[in-house]
């Protein structure tokens, strides 16, 4: 889909609003993950407000594209984006991680309409996306539905991920696109210190995937990558999206310490001020 300057401006504003919602919900929850959700806000914005075929008012619509979130811990960005897209009232974002809330600490598909899977334990999302893509091909050979699996780089250390990568390559799943949040951090440090993943592009290529590498904060690049992914035949596609964890708030950016903690009330207020100020400039 074409992306003009006006649309880019619109998406930029939306991503800013989503980042603010992420911070507000984390402050209210008092626990949760900050770096990943902020880093992936641009990609989620692009998907939900430009690329995905979906209907927030009809989440069970059978002809929708599927977005499968594998690294469930970044759900604050999924929830915030879904709320802004109209799946549920934005006021519900205050219920993140609370007792009885549809916004479970890690997503549960039975608690919130519009979630395709329940996730949290790393490494199983791609397998589920592969299963959906295979089943869809069995159901309809000419289907134009797309299956997007959003993954972290840290979860590539799970063996199951590579079992799924192998199967997708074998099955030539052209309807499957994995988007990896290549932010280089995980709970205890950088990926390359804890368990090096590079050369990541070659790993996927050797399993017969088509690899695209992009700046995960550039809407034009995100859109072009998704368009390219749709055009590729005979292979599944992985978009390795380089992102800055904590993107948008200087205090959080690039620091693995922000992987698994929420901002305090004060840190949150400061962060929101910064996001608003930078957007105006």
């Amino acid at each position: 889909m074409n992306l003009d300057d006006k649309k880019i401006k619109e998406l930029t504003k939306k991503a800013k609003d989503i980042r603010i919602s992420i911070i507000e919900s984390l402050v209210e929850a008092g626990s949760g993950h900050t770096a990943g959700p902020l880093g992936m806000a641009d990609i989620f914005t692009a998907l939900y407000f430009h690329n995905l075929v979906h209907d927030p008012k009809n989440p069970d619509w059978k002809d929708r594209d599927r977005l499968i979130l594998s690294n469930g811990h970044i759900c604050p960005v999924l929830y915030a984006t879904m709320a802004h897209a109209g799946y549920f009232p934005k006021s519900d974002l205050k219920k993140l991680r609370k007792f009885g809330s549809p916004l479970q600490g890690h997503p549960h598909r039975e608690w919130l309409k519009g979630l395709e899977t329940s996730s949290g334990p790393l490494g199983s999302g791609l397998s589920q996306a592969v299963g959906m893509a295979i089943a869809e091909r069995m159901n309809n050979k000419n289907s134009d539905k797309f299956f997007y699996c959003l993954m972290s780089d840290g979860e590539l250390q799970e063996g199951q991920t590579w079992e799924a990568v192998m199967l997708a390559g074998k099955e030539k799943l052209t309807n499957l696109t994995a988007i990896i949040d290549r932010n280089n951090i995980q709970i205890e440090g950088t990926t390359e210190d804890i368990m090096p993943l590079e050369p990541l592009d070659e790993k996927f290529q050797s399993f017969n995937w088509h690899v695209i590498e992009i700046d995960g904060h550039n809407f034009e690049s995100i859109n072009n990558a998704i368009e390219e992914a749709k055009a590729i035949t005979e292979k599944p596609v992985v978009i390795i999206a380089y992102t800055i964890p904590g993107k948008g708030v200087k205090e959080f950016e690039g620091k693995y310490e922000w992987h698994g903690k929420p901002p305090t009330k004060e840190e949150g207020e400061k962060a929101i001020k910064e996001l608003r100020k930078n957007f105006q400039n």
Partner: protein, 331 residues
């Protein structure tokens, strides 16, 4: 005539004949899957490089377009099946029980049960009767690790026909089901006509005189119990035998009723005593009708190589051992 009397008449007429027909539960699964595959086009099968050992090849050969070979990757198999279920399929995943639900337990818990996916998990080669392959391949923990997961139905058929019917019934359940199968050919205790209902235990032996002991057995070792009680009946010792093919949900009514009739319950299973079928029975009876229970099963140890009959004897599940336990109880 009571229900149980009707059931007994439906058992294999050759049950007490030494030349009783022998067939495996895994073959029953394979034939059952082929049958449901023909009836329901949403049924799909996945296998992790054990298509022939699990008899999934019968389905794969008939419906190649609905079969997915995932390679030696049981964790992926479980989650891929979950994804297929999300698109309306009814996936059957098969492997050896040690690997599925053994190796891939968390994937089954989260991506299948927590997700409430309509996936059927087939664990073949359960129990020590796997034989010479040894302890690595003898799943004797699978009942425990499956029945502990919310939403899971756990079936443990006693023979070829029950296994076949378990597949047909599992297909009708919307949700996760585990079916426990064995490697070897074992006596065909039931017939095509014997009733089978998930959640319904059945009396397979009623003594001439009053029953002093009630045996609750699951899987092919049920046959050993049936042979023993027949002999004991001749000696004037009354033992009733309940076939517990559904371990979850438990048929509370039938178990409590049996416990009320007898002095003592003996559970017989080719599985660890801890967490197994006997434990499930004990959890129920401790609350509803406390009574002495003798547990026959594997006593907190691993399996090992040997002939199936050697191992069944070593672990105290052969006819001689069962008989001895019952006689001791009556002393």
């Amino acid at each position: 005539m009571s229900d149980s009397k009707k059931v007994k008449m439906d058992l294999n007429k050759n049950l007490y004949n030494k030349n009783i027909e022998q067939k495996s539960t895994r073959q029953g699964y394979g034939e059952g899957l082929l049958e449901v595959g023909g009836k329901n086009k949403n049924v799909v099968a996945l296998c992790a490089d054990l298509t022939h050992s699990t008899y999934t090849h019968l389905f794969a050969d008939a419906f190649p377009e609905r079969f997915v070979q995932v390679g030696v990757a049981e964790q992926n198999m479980a989650s891929v099946a979950s994804g297929m279920s999300a698109m309306g399929k009814i996936p059957f995943i098969s492997s050896y029980a040690m690997f599925s639900p053994g190796r891939n337990w968390e994937q089954i818990r989260t991506t299948i049960c927590y997700n409430n996916s309509n996936v059927k998990i087939i664990g073949a080669h359960a129990g020590v009767s796997v034989g010479p392959d040894g302890g690595t391949h003898q799943a004797i923990e699978d009942i425990a690790i499956t029945r502990v997961i919310p939403r899971m139905t756990v079936l443990s058929p006693c023979d070829f026909f029950e296994a076949k019917k378990a597949v047909l019934e599992a297909t009708k359940i919307k949700g996760p089901v585990y079916i426990r199968l064995a490697r070897n050919n074992t006596p065909v205790i039931t017939t095509e006509e014997t009733p089978f209902k998930v959640g319904k235990a059945q009396i397979f032996y009623e003594p001439k005189n009053h029953a002093e002991i009630g045996i609750i057995a699951t899987g092919s070792v049920l046959y050993n119990a049936l042979m023993v009680v027949k002999e004991l009946d001749k000696e004037g010792i009354g033992v009733k035998v309940l076939n517990l093919a559904t371990i979850k949900p438990l048929d509370e009514k039938s178990i409590v009723q049996l416990a009320k009739e007898v002095k003592c319950i003996v559970t017989v299973e080719e599985h660890q005593i801890a967490g197994g079928m006997g434990s499930a029975v004990a959890e129920l009876l401790a609350q509803k009708h406390p009574i002495k229970i003798e547990f026959l099963g594997i006593k907190d140890e691993f399996g090992q190589s040997g002939k199936p009959e050697e191992l069944i004897k070593y672990y105290g599940l052969d006819q001689g051992s069962i008989k001895k336990v019952i006689k001791n109880l009556l002393k």
